[in-house]
């Protein structure tokens, strides 16, 4: 018969379930990371968007892995989530690459003085 749980790689592995204790650790980590991110942005030293996004990615990973139990889900869920993340990255990268590297856009009719300041 198909689908016997013990030999079914498509059914989540529930023998080591995520427990309340995992949730607590995850929540603590999230609060610490959020506070770190907030603190960094308030510092006079400019750390930039990259650091904030890296912290965000870590937080997102924590939520996905433990709050959403992705660690114990089947292989397909993990692959598709990874693939989706990769595509988001590609879309943002290749779209932003265009204005980053393109020759200056023709100034808009109305306020081209402001545009020049923004572009340089």
């Amino acid at each position: 018969m198909i689908g016997r749980a013990e030999e079914d790689e498509n059914v989540a592995k529930r023998d080591a379930p995520v427990t309340t204790r995992h949730y607590l650790y995850a929540y603590a980590a999230l609060i610490v990371l959020a506070s770190a991110s907030l603190g960094l942005s308030l510092l006079p030293v400019h750390t930039g968007l990259g650091v904030a996004l890296a912290i965000g990615a870590l937080k997102a990973f924590i939520v996905l892995a433990w709050f959403m139990h992705l660690v114990q889900e089947n292989f397909g869920s993990k692959v598709f989530m990874f693939l989706a993340g990769l595509l988001v990255f590609t879309l943002v990268l290749l779209t932003a690459l265009d204005p980053l590297t393109r020759a200056p856009y023709p100034p808009p009719p109305a306020e081209n003085t402001v545009f020049r300041r923004a572009a340089h």
Binding site: L83, L94, D98, R102, A103
Partner: protein, 548 residues
């Protein structure tokens, strides 16, 4: 209905899915994937004919450079309507929602899709979306072209929002269907149906579904933003407030380039079934076809910028997109070589679906080669926005999908309805479809190369003879499609009863009765071999596949 009662089924078999339940409500509320497939069949064919009528109308107008039957605004609307209806209401749902829906569970040995009610919901969401789109169109809307480019779409005087919202709704239906197929392939394969035993049609529908789920939401978002810009002047893409209209093109083509593979991958899947069946050979490389489907699906996500070479995007970005576009052609070429190699030394039976394959082969290779040409930036500058592009994408995506759609309609006709169509009329129609198609679009390659821009109402007199040829071809194509569909419609009522496996096909879906019973299989089947190796006698196979 009366004819059915005169020929009672053998008592041993359960009634087929067409007769298992009676009455209109048993259809409208069904969760049987086969019945939902047929409802999609009906709806999608209506859209197909509608989109075809739009095309014939504006092709008629183009017979001469003067005004013939409509003014310029009506012409703009008609080519827009043709594009919108054909792309979103016909081509995108056609093969996946009809044949994918019907055949996929049968090929997997499953009793239904993973989420049957979601499947039914997908149908009704499609109907609602299509109704919104069509009412928006007929209320006089949309002259923007099917691409909705900004900033024209923000400022066009005609109504826009119902149409883009309707397409958004149709997109939800696409996502539901794609999600359902992926879940089914992952979770409902019969015992012994490993990934390496999936039939190639299933592989291609699976690859298509990945695109449906991951690309469609971006289209939905970009169209909603266009609609909001049009109605509320949010100015997301509006250059007057510093916005960048090219960004709309990025988002739009992030979906709409992979959408080409939503149309062509299922077509390739159909071909990958038709060729081994009528050549009586196993596919010469199963892995090459299966893996190239995934390669096309993933590679296709990285190629969208080739639509924007002349839109002012950066040359670096354009170069990246150009290279990725050519990668996709490599995977497509692998498939073409494998199909041709499958025919080599085959015991070829010349039939209607196979004739459509030959048409497909020519249109696909020709369209594909011109595609590699326009993926080159320097050449694209010359051909961009001319009839050359129109002819290119009609060859590869319409020619490819239409011929395989008709191939599938004939190939699985006995499976779906248990009857045989007239082979002679089928062969005639297939030849005429091919001739009509070539006659319509070959002149357009020449027109575009000579400098005729697309979407123009009028043109210099020296282009007229090519336009007349093209219009003549479109009339031929239209009649040929009607002939093919009419042949099938007649067979539905008067066709001879088909055996279970009239083509001697060697894939698993032909092992269930034709037409299949409501629940596909009496007992859960067991797969014990490669996908194209079901060539024992029927009794032997049944004994192995349904032990006990």
């Amino acid at each position: 209905m009366i004819a059915v009662k005169l020929e009672p089924e053998p008592m041993a078999l359960p009634p087929d899915y067409l007769h298992a339940k009676q009455g209109p409500m048993s259809w409208l509320t069904t969760t049987d994937h086969k019945r939902i497939a047929l409802m999609f069949y009906g709806a999608v064919l209506v859209m197909f004919l509608l989109g075809g009528v739009f095309a014939l109308l504006f092709r008629t107008e183009l017979l001469s450079p003067r005004r013939d039957i409509m003014d310029a605004t009506t012409y703009n609307k008609l080519f827009t309507w043709h594009g919108i209806v054909m792309v979103w209401l016909f081509l995108i749902p056609s093969i996946p929602n009809i044949f994918g829906n019907f055949i996929l569970p049968l090929q997997l040995g499953a009793r239904d899709l993973a989420f049957p009610r979601l499947n039914l919901a997908s149908f009704y969401v499609y109907l609602v979306g299509a109704t919104i789109v069509l009412s928006g169109l007929f209320a006089g809307g949309t002259d923007t072209g099917w691409t909705f480019y900004m900033p024209y779409s923000e400022n066009t005087p005609v109504t826009l929002f119902p149409v883009v919202f309707g397409i958004f709704v149709v997109g939800i239906s696409s996502i539901f269907t794609g999600l359902n197929f992926i879940a089914t392939v992952h979770m409902l394969r019969a015992e012994g149906m490993t990934w390496r035993r999936l039939p190639l049609f299933t592989w291609s529908i699976y690859a298509t579904s990945i695109i449906l789920v991951l690309a469609t939401p971006v289209l939905g978002l970009s169209l909603i933003l266009v609609g909001l810009d049009h109605v509320f002047h949010l100015g997301v893409f509006d250059p007057a407030t510093g916005g960048d209209p090219v960004l709309f093109q990025h988002l739009f083509w992030f979906y709409s380039h992979p959408a080409v593979y939503i149309m062509i991958l299922p077509a390739m899947g159909v071909i990958s079934e038709v060729v081994p069946t009528f050549a009586h050979r196993r596919p010469s490389s199963y892995a090459a076809i299966a893996l190239s489907s995934l390669g096309i699906a993933f590679g296709g996500f990285l190629a969208w910028g080739h639509h924007m070479f002349v839109a002012g995007i950066s040359t670096l970005d354009a170069g990246v997109f150009g290279i990725f576009s050519m990668f996709v052609a490599v995977f497509s070429a692998i498939k073409v070589f494998t199909w041709v190699a499958t025919l080599y030394r085959g015991d070829i039976v010349f039939s209607t679906p196979l004739l459509y394959f030959f048409g497909f082969l020519f249109l696909f290779v020709f369209g594909g080669m011109t595609g590699v040409a326009v993926a080159t930036q320097s050449l694209d500058v010359h051909w961009h926005d001319t009839y050359f592009i129109v002819a290119h994408f009609h060859f590869i995506m319409v020619g490819g999908s239409l011929t395989s759609f008709l191939a599938a309609a004939h190939y699985w006709f006995p499976k779906m309805f248990g009857r045989l169509y007239s082979e002679r009329v089928g062969l005639l129609a297939a030849s005429l479809v091919f001739m009509g198609f070539v006659l319509t679009f070959l002149p357009q390659f020449l027109l575009g190369n000579a400098g005729m821009p697309r979407r123009y109402y009028s043109y210099p007199a020296e282009y007229q003879w090519l336009h007349v040829l093209s219009t003549g071809g479109s009339y031929l194509l239209g009649s040929a499609v009607l002939l093919a569909l009419g042949n099938l419609a007649l067979a539905l009522a008067y066709g001879a009863r088909s055996e279970q496996n009239p083509w001697e096909a060697r894939t698993f879906e032909w092992l269930s009765p034709s037409p299949p019973p409501e629940h596909n299989f009496e007992s859960p089947p067991v797969i014990d071999r490669e996908p194209y190796a079901f060539d024992l006698s029927e009794e032997q196979i049944r004994a192995r596949a349904f032990p006990g």
